[in-house]
């Protein structure tokens, strides 16, 4: 295959076989630090799936990489792919930090991830149905009621409500990490309103422009069908007797940090982007105000937390939702994706029980392992952890986004004292996990290629059936040595390439 001349197509990296003098320079600073490295078995032996990329990196000088990086950033900026950073006197829009080099996952690895996630989401969904109906799992003594009913996100109002197709978790983003043995394990289930999928979709578009040849050579599976899959998943939840359902995306508005994603998905699916003030509930039916009158709404893909959906039932001061939404939901006249109260299943204390939950409902062993988790409500585990805080990661159970977290080995004595007090005051609110050395992947940082820690968030859709597009968001801890990948804490992303068999 021939490529046009370099000067005339600066967005495209020229892939040749002859090694140029500047090329190997880029990889000279690479090192292995005991974590599983995505690219290298040892520094002389790149893994098979990474060989085309490795060859390319040997042949590219830092200037070419820098130029491509610039082109990629420019492309993100022009497309307006930004998120809002809070703090200071006003929110400012930044582009999402993006690393140039793709993260590659083999077909075999993906096959296991796909089976594992399908199993896990099926079980968690059955768990949610059970918790809000018969609660057999409590009666059978598998998960203690004391833990379920003390969850911050348990919603008593959901007791006995029938949700469409018995599907509670329609859109899931599960965080996986790879341990030093090379196995993918689950770090966190995000069952409420997971975000980030727009970065997965837009970064793929940019990468195809920048590495067309490499992309083709690697035989990467497509992810572009995500928006169609999401729309048909949402439509499948529509109330009966609504063959042409109206689906809307409910956003908190232009000041939300994920507003770009909301506009992006609404546009990709061709559905209305509504705010709470656009919705009106009358006789338990939800309508949106349009210029030609009220139009009935059947399915709401809501990107607002439970607490703010309906001031009559939840936070009474909230202006983000609409009055009466919950009653319409209870009457079965409108569907929410995700259902309310799903946060009980991604509580970090419940997380510790997921292997048992899978065995209980499916009578199978978990395909994807959990990270070892200590419940600090248990006195002996608490005592053990409090003495060794410098060796553990401590997390608040109801938080996400990397907030409310102590990373023992990187903490100061003062922080540890503070956390010890917090744990003693509210033990149910905390769990501890051993520090896990997340796998590393090559990243282009400051003109050289260095290893950085990464995780993986695939997106699972659950309507009529479970659909997982082959890919996800690989999040990168861009600071050297850091293990925190959250975008609010200095993380970035990489395109994730799942290979065809």
């Amino acid at each position: 295959m021939r490529y046009p001349c370099g000067d005339r197509a600066p967005t495209m990296i020229i892939e040749t076989s002859a090694a140029s003098a500047g090329g190997a320079e880029g990889l000279r600073h690479y090192f292995l630090n005991g974590a599983y490295d995505e690219m290298f078995r040892s520094l002389d032996h790149p893994r098979k799936q990474y060989r085309p990329l490795h060859n390319l990196l040997l042949n590219l000088g830092p200037d070419e990489l820098r130029r491509s990086k610039h082109e990629a950033d420019q492309s993100f900026f022009n497309q307006g792919i930004t998120f809002t950073v809070y703090g200071g006197d006003k929110g400012t829009e930044r582009i999402f930090p993006h690393d140039l080099l793709p993260r590659i996952i083999t077909a075999a690895e993906w096959e296991k991830i796909e089976r594992g996630l399908t199993q896990r989401i099926t079980a968690l969904n059955l768990f949610l149905r059970d918790v809000y109906h018969e609660a057999k799992i409590i009666a059978d003594g598998v998960v203690p009621g004391s833990i379920i009913y003390t969850c911050k996100h348990y919603r008593r109002e959901m007791r006995g409500i029938k949700v469409p197709r018995d599907v509670y978790v329609t859109v899931v983003g599960t965080d996986l990490i790879r341990n030093p043995e090379g196995n993918f394990v689950v770090l966190e289930d995000n069952l409420r309103v997971p975000s980030g999928v727009s970065y997965m979709l837009t970064s793929r578009k940019v990468m195809k422009q920048i590495f067309p040849g490499l992309f083709q050579k690697c035989r990467v599976r497509p992810i572009e069908q995500y928006s169609q899959a999401l729309l048909s998943t949402l439509r499948s939840l529509a109330p009966e007797g609504r063959p042409e359902p109206t689906v809307v995306l409910l956003t908190p508005g232009a000041y939300n940090s994920a507003y770009f994603e909301h506009t992006y998905l609404a546009r990709q699916m061709g559905i209305e982007l509504v705010e709470g003030r656009d919705l009106v509930v009358h006789d338990n039916i939800v309508y949106m105000r349009t210029t030609f009158g009220l139009q009935r709404v059947d399915v709401i893909y809501r990107r607002i937390d439970d607490d703010y959906l309906d001031p009559l039932v939840f936070e009474s001061g909230s202006a983000l939702g609409a009055v009466g939404l919950f009653n319409a939901y209870r009457a079965g006249n409108v569907a929410f994706a995700n259902a309310l109260g799903t946060g009980v299943a991604d509580d970090k204390a419940i997380y510790a029980y997921v292997p048992q939950i899978i065995r209980y409902y499916l009578d199978e062993d978990p395909i994807l392992e959990n990270v070892e988790t200590l419940l600090l409500s248990d006195p002996s585990q608490r005592a053990h952890v409090c003495e060794r805080l410098d060796q553990y990661v401590v997390k608040a159970v109801g938080e996400s986004g990397g907030y409310g977290m102590l990373i023992g080995p990187h903490s100061t004595e003062e922080e540890r004292i503070q956390f010890r007090q917090r744990i003693q005051a509210q033990p149910r609110n905390y769990i501890a996990q051993p520090v896990i050395n997340l796998s590393t992947a090559p990243c282009f940082v400051d003109g050289t290629i260095e290893p950085r820690h990464v995780d993986l968030r695939p997106y699972v859709l659950y309507g009529e059936k479970i659909v997982i597009v082959p890919g996800g968001l690989t999040r990168v801890a861009l600071r050297k040595g850091s293990l925190v990948v959250n975008s609010s804490q200095g993380g970035g992303s990489k395109d994730t390439w799942v290979l065809q068999n």
Binding site: E272, R289, T291, G293
Partner: protein
Amino acid sequence: MLSRVADSLYWMSRYFERADNAARVLEATYGLILNPAKFSTEERWYRAVSSLAPGPASGDVDPQRALFLLVADPEGAFSIVKCISGARENARQVREEISSEMWEHLNRLFHAVTGPNLQPGDDAGAMRAVRLVREGSYRFKGVTDATMSHDEGWHFIQLGKYIERASNLCVLLDAYFVVDKHADDLDWVGLLSSCAAFEAYCKACTAELRPDRIADFLLLKPEFPYSVRYSLDQMHHALTSISTLSLSRRTEKIERLIGRLRSMVAYVQVSEVMRGLHKYLAGIIEQCRDLHAAVHEVYIEYPIDVAFES
């Protein structure tokens, strides 16, 4: 189309037109003030302020501060910077509805105008911002027409633009013809330039500046885009298109109001109008306000029981 979206598009357009109008008026006024005048500069500033920032504050104008107040005052509700921010804020709420070209253009203009952080007394800086807005607004209108589908949303943009323009023109004409009794030729040039009309007027009526002809041109000329007649015709066109597209059955009131408003400029001669010009202009402004309220009531914030009846 969602009512909230229609409302944001309408206001985006109104704020932009308001900024554009202020820019033209200020450019013309500033040009006048540089000349030695028969009458004091205070009076000319007073005329500009009273036509751009109506309210009790317009009575005592400090000429040193007038330009700053009208261009960059962060407190003032009528400054150009405030209007451009208002337009951008509305556009930001409906980013998925307007074209990326429109957003980029508006965003760039916003940063160009707010970036320099103008101080009172910096006349050159203020006039630079004025020029940016005037040129930017022509471009924005072009980009809007060229890149956006001419559907319901676009018609709401048109409606906002022309209702704002008609009202602004009437206020401006009132300031020149009624409030200011001793306008000279230079002032008439100023008025025409404020409406981007000097060349068009000369073409139609030669450079002989006769107040009644100027009034005729700016009020009743159906072909000139900055005339009241043209603006009302465009409003009528936008409203008809919206009611056809939205299939609304509650538009009788709007049809009545716009019909009456158009007849005020379509079936009169300038000599009749000149006899009671102030009252005539006030009548048009009043009816534009009524029309705005009626549109709001039918398309944007209709009561729910009404919606269920129809």
